[in-house]
């Protein structure tokens, strides 16, 4: 009887001991797996951020007007009148048109001479390998002193900091702002409040209208009184 009790006790002990050993080894395995999974995740994240960083560094943008188009290459002239060669890849390069802050896909055949394009790609010794080409608007953002106002034809003659005289038409769509010299807030204004001697900051499309003037998209006037305070 006593031997039987000892045998039962030993059997239960062995069973529980076995279960315990199994549980401990399973827990250790799981911990090891989860820690190695974490390491893999961290490594993946590091690789992804490095790849993103390298892509950002290698991927550059260039803009200019098209002066020549051929099947596998476009020649553009940038704002500094420098010619840049853009290499096209029929399988890779995509074409878009930007209008009203939205892009729509177009095809290579939609590109034409004098279009202003932004090229996204990788710069090489032979030119830019284009990933994407965006047909965009070219804007002129500049400022200067108003030296003449034509109240009949609504234009301003402005001398810029580079001593260039520019005539800017104030159109019906032109947004006109003036700096309140007391609190420096921008307020809506009208053509009649603009004076010779005021400073003007303006945005126009970089192409002249039928009067050979620039049409202002918007202007910001800094009254000359601000500088006499």
């Amino acid at each position: 009887m006593k031997i039987k009790k000892i045998f039962i006790f030993l059997s239960i002990f062995v069973i529980f001991f076995g279960i315990l050993i199994n549980f401990v080894s399973f827990a250790q395995e799981k911990t090891a797996t989860s820690s190695s999974e974490k390491e893999v995740e961290i490594l993946k994240e590091k690789i992804a951020s490095k790849v993103a960083q390298l892509r950002q560094e290698s991927n550059q943008a260039f803009a200019g007007r098209i002066i020549n188009i051929s099947e596998d290459q476009i020649e553009i002239k940038n704002r500094n009148e420098k010619k840049i060669f853009v290499k096209l890849d029929s399988a890779l390069t995509k074409y878009y048109k930007i209008k009203n802050n939205k892009k729509e896909e177009i095809s290579f055949s939609d590109l034409k001479k004098n279009d202003y394009i932004v090229v996204s790609g990788v710069n090489t010794d032979r030119g830019i390998n284009a990933n994407s080409i965006f047909v965009d608007e070219k804007y002129l953002v500049d400022f200067g002193r108003i030296i003449e106002i034509n109240k009949d034809n609504y234009w301003l003659k402005i001398t810029t900091v580079t001593n260039e005289d520019i005539i800017v038409d104030i159109e019906t769509f032109t947004k006109q702002w003036i700096v309140n010299i007391k609190d420096l807030q921008l307020e809506r204004t009208g053509f009649s409040k603009i004076k010779e001697g005021d400073m003007v900051h303006f945005v126009t499309k970089d192409e002249k209208n039928e009067n050979s003037h620039y049409s202002a998209q918007k202007i910001v006037i800094i009254p000359q009184e601000y500088f006499l305070k």
Partner: protein, 144 residues
């Protein structure tokens, strides 16, 4: 010649000599005084150091020029002359503010494609020339 006459001539010579020395001394003293006065009348010209105007140059730390971004807003950070008037203009937005501290930071929206951003600083001192910088930032989502 009488003895008294000789004494009188001798004393006359002595007094004459004494008087002459006295008069010469007096004149020379007054001359030196005059000279002294002339020197003291000269105004001392001191050269004050030339006032230099410390104009803080316009520096843009962020964003880098010609950068490609995939968000429609950037933070323009830089430094310029304290209390200057700063105008930041692009086709997307116009901002005018007074630079109360040397450093400034402005959140600025972007439009799709090329963004020409002109930053102009008007110094508080109207005699100083304006400073300007133009940034080209390309907002091209899915391109980076």
């Amino acid at each position: 010649m009488k003895k008294e006459s000789l004494i009188a001539i001798f004393l006359g010579l002595i007094f004459g000599l004494f008087g002459a020395i006295l008069i010469i001394n007096t004149f020379s003293h007054s001359d030196s005084e005059k000279g002294k006065n002339l020197i003291s009348e000269k105004k001392e010209i001191t050269l004050s150091p030339v006032k230099t105007i410390d104009l803080e140059p316009l520096i843009i730390n962020n964003p880098k020029n010609n950068i490609v971004v995939n968000t429609d807003q950037i933070s323009i950070e830089g430094s310029a002359d304290k209390n200057s008037l700063i105008v930041i203009q692009s086709p997307a937005k116009d901002t005018v503010f007074q630079n109360k501290d040397k450093k400034f930071k402005v959140d600025f929206p972007l439009v799709l494609g090329e963004n020409v951003i002109k930053i102009v600083v008007y110094s508080k001192n109207i005699n100083l020339k304006n400073q300007e910088k133009t940034l080209f930032v390309y907002y091209l989502p899915n391109e980076i």
